[in-house]
Subunit: 362 residues, 4 copies
């Protein structure tokens, strides 16, 4: 698809969010209501699968804390229909929907001339064996394959140029973002030795699992507890392998459920190809993120903590180099609902619209 086919997003761009009722959807609404470029045209808010027949509900019924924010008290969340989207001349559709729904809806939206940012895992994976874990079913497999090939992995630190021109952006996973931002500088600089194995021990707050009424989401399960899950089998593994260019046997990732509402801390163990010094590694990170508005690199030996990123749009990075100058621990923190989801989606929207990457996020 030639670039010219992409209509530049208008100043008064019309944005719609589907899946407003979830945690990430709610944060997305909050960010867009605060966004300086969208003040005159507030986003269209839509429900999600299984909610499409429901009568409109007020936004503040779903998210009482948003009351008082801009036009929030007057806003309705409408049942999802394509007529609705077309009647409102939506330019950009943000999908905060389950992956089955995102997979089904993105082709329609593109066919209707909208651009799409999908926050689910539906469009992140180019390799079929990685995508298999989502058990996706396509109505039109060849169209889906074409769109998959066109989809851009929405990591603004890695793919800004492609995102600007993309019709379909696959917003990265929350765990994946925290690990990718920690490792990409080392991989790109060629200092990481992948053959010695990369171990990612990640811990996430409960909102990462969404709003579903499942036993693991109960207070009595998560409070005063810590548990590992999806060992050797978490869905975000695939996108990390693809983005980092690692093979499955070089990479290990274990997620844990933390007894807190929000925040991810990933502790990442790597080995360098050659003996190095802290200052040299610091320079690798600093250079890589010199222009990145939402990544904060701490001075070694300072390390990030979850409390400093919760409810912020940042990913914080820090590292310790071992006494041997080869083994290294990188620590990465972010808010799973923000830089791990909604804020990163807004960055992608900003890039697609030709605005400043961090507009509305500072």
């Amino acid at each position: 698809m030639p670039d010219s086919a992409i209509s530049p997003v208008r100043a008064g761009m019309r944005v719609a969010i589907a899946g407003v009722s979830g945690y990430a959807g709610g944060e997305l609404v909050r960010l867009l209501l605060n966004h300086p470029r969208l003040r005159s045209t507030p986003p269209l808010l839509l429900g999600r699968l299984g909610e499409t027949d429901a009568a409109p509900v007020t936004l503040t019924h779903l998210h009482p804390h948003l009351s008082g924010l801009g036009a929030a008290d007057q806003m309705q969340v409408l049942p999802f229909t394509w007529e609705q989207l077309q009647r409102q001349s939506v330019d950009l559709l943000l999908l905060a929907t389950p992956h089955e729904q995102s997979r089904a809806w993105a082709p329609h939206a593109l066919a209707h001339g909208m651009r799409v940012i999908d926050l689910s895992g539906a469009w992140r994976l180019q390799q079929e064996q990685n995508r298999a874990i989502y058990k996706l079913e396509d109505a039109d497999p060849s169209l889906a394959a074409a769109l998959q090939g066109e989809a851009v992995y929405g990591s603004p630190e890695l793919h800004a140029a492609a995102i600007r021109k993309a019709r379909l952006v696959a917003n990265p996973g929350c765990y994946a973002t925290s690990i990718l931002l920690a490792l990409a500088p080392l991989v790109r600089a060629g200092v990481l030795d992948p053959d010695h194995g990369v171990v990612c021990d990640a811990k996430s707050g409960v909102s990462g699992a969404g709003k579903a009424l499942t036993p693991n989401n109960l207070f009595m399960h998560a409070a005063d507890n810590l548990s590992a899950y999806a060992v050797f089998g978490h869905r975000h593994t695939g996108e990390l392998l693809e983005q980092l260019g690692l093979s499955a046997d070089q990479f290990q990732f274990t997620p844990h459920l933390l007894p807190i509402p929000r925040g991810i801390l990933s502790t990442i163990y790597v080995r360098l190809r050659q003996r190095s010094e802290p200052a040299a590694i610091q320079a690798v990170f600093d250079r890589f993120y010199a222009e990145a508005p939402l990544v904060r690199v701490r001075r070694s030996p300072q390390l990030p903590q979850i409390q400093y990123v919760v409810r912020s749009n940042y990913c914080d990075l820090g590292f310790h180099l071992g006494p041997d100058g080869r083994r290294m621990v990188v620590v990465s923190c972010l808010d799973n609902l923000l830089k791990g989801a909604a804020s990163q989606a807004v960055e992608n929207m900003n890039l697609m619209a030709g605005w400043d990457q961090a507009e509305g996020l500072r």
Copy 2:
């Protein structure tokens, strides 16, 4: 029913628990597996409504933390059937079941010659207007009315003699226990002035709401939060009015959901009939609980805290008398699953069996 109809419980008493999968049911199992009098005859464990058709599950599948405790690793939780109970010659049935089920099952159990301790609200209320909130339906209303009249409110500090002889004991509610133990000594001593109003502001950990998959039981709802609920309408109000002999306009009770797994703290505001001194009030409490094994009265101005009762079998009480010698704040703490449920049920069992009231609870 004459006392003689009650067979003395045998030393090797056979006890069954129905509703083992819940939080209170799990604590009950733990306490009975630790009970010195039941070592030779471990309790029969049964499921609850909707689980009755399921195949047996192992106890440690439901409650992994019980592994290693006595015979726990060998125990099965069986589907509930009356045949099962009779085949095992059960003497005492403990119902940790929803109130609808308890209301339906208790008459059957009594008819089969078993004695019953019910942990739900089904049998606590003598006055129909108080019971209405449970929307109970009786297959045989006149039998139910007779049994209701016979049912003993299972507060061992107030009704030990009746409990010893009872066929049907209605174990008090968790909030009700914390408030009742704080107020009963003052009411019985005639020092409380009910006409000035009694205000009970109570706060409970999340386990009080049970294991149901409801939005309010989600970690994301309860964590970092506090909320009042059931204002002017909580189900435990009725049993407090009946037990304290207060009228609805003299008494106010507001429960709150605390962001902790376990524990209740009730802050209770009362007015005394006459100006008093701390020492005199202390004596009222001390005398009332002189023989009570599971009530600890703190020395004023020390006050109980939830941390000192969680996972203990105690109710802790403390008070502050105001500078006017008339207004008083009483603070009461207990573990809602223990003294507020399972431990109190074991006290009742001990009394019914003729054992020491605190056997297995120290």
Copy 3:
């Protein structure tokens, strides 16, 4: 002091904050760095008592989460000296300092021509018997008495006109704000019957106790716990009595320490002079707060929860009227560091500067 003596605050007003290292001080810095009117002249940041000799520290060393916010990464926290304040031509001094320090410093600042907003309890109380609890000592008692008479209690919902012209504003306490905003509409409307007693059962997150290294501030004390404290003797009682015009025997207030970082919920029990209806009470609140930008009145029977106000600038109010139409429960929630401290100080600053009351707070 004639109004004319108060120089209108300049558009590029120069603001200083003393006591930046505390929790409320940190929030104040965050709000001022975000404040549209202060973008060109960022606030001067100063330490507090016992820190005045220390070398400057960077702001982000004290508050790492502020990194990236406006000029935050370039800002220093300087030792407090009067020379510093004069050299910078400070117009308005915000004191986030302990009350002893605020009591000593405010007269100096006023004498140097600055206006002052004090976040401590030093200047809130007009009646000596209420002030006694702070054990304040004045170098010049007659000057202090004069300034005390001039000081305005900084509740913008109650005293906006006086605040606009004030030289010295005493920012309300966090508990006091939550209770005052719940009761003032009822008192002013004459519907509350004070003779029947007002009971305020309040619960606060741990940040309300400040950053001091005390046993009660330890994680191991506060976590999984709830405790009442300062029964019949909390310092905020006096300012509530003065502001509400109640006598000590009409009013009772018990604070509790919640196991959460931030947020206050106050449950308030009152009696009305006459039988009323929910709609009438709703109207009392709605009218009173019709123009208040930072008070959200919920529709009864909806009630506020801490989760909806944490990290917001709002106070949320809701109520339940009892079945007798006389007894009423009012629930009030706010973030103790924001509407209970820093946001309210910014409202006061806005009023003093002639700006919109909620500038920088939406």
Copy 4:
């Protein structure tokens, strides 16, 4: 020292605990008050460094939750003096004291004919370079060296025979216990390939840091947070290297501070020498712990969680073998104050006294 020099501990053994005020000390008291062999001779309770001059305090003043437990309400905590210990003919001294104090006191106690279990790190390390981190100073270096050589590392699963005869037992660290019990079976069975590196990512509740009034122990630091600390430099590394026979470059350990009061979960990444099957690894663990009363091995793929071990005396182990049959994740959980401290000390006491290893711990 010949075995014969060790007087068999008497049935009515006299035990003293020094350092009763800390969290581990408090748990030790609780366990000993519950211990069937010590019912007739309750332990002597002593303070710790800096508290030695203080007047006696009641046990329940320090630990209110212990009220009601055995003789607890009558017990005093006395200032530490050698006269006190001798007057009471103490046989066994349990030191729940800081390592400097334990290092200084153990030689005295041994010289007075007592046996010693030390819960600090003072006597755990045979290699001087590992011990250096504690900066220990010995009054009599050659005596200290001799005693160090004699000291037995108190892991009952590894060294039961030596513990039985020991005069001086060094109770393992909490993190060290969780990791050691996970790795020892694999190392002893020769299946672990140490050259590929062992990565231990461990997470502990706040009580692991003790009761000190430090910023990191504040609720406001730990709540809603997670942070890594002591990367490449935690004190428990040395004892793990010595016990596992690994070299520093084969082993990496990163501790994290969890926002919960109690519990450790260690996620451990290893590689096997040869491709294996889950059943074979399960058998390695099962055989190793067949007789261990306080280790529970879960069936793979079940994994331990902190909630199932908190307030229990167990260490729970579980593992996942990767799809390559070589990489493996072992998860280990325990309560840092119990199996990670006090319960393990009681096991050691039981062994030293010739009692059943788990006496008083089931």
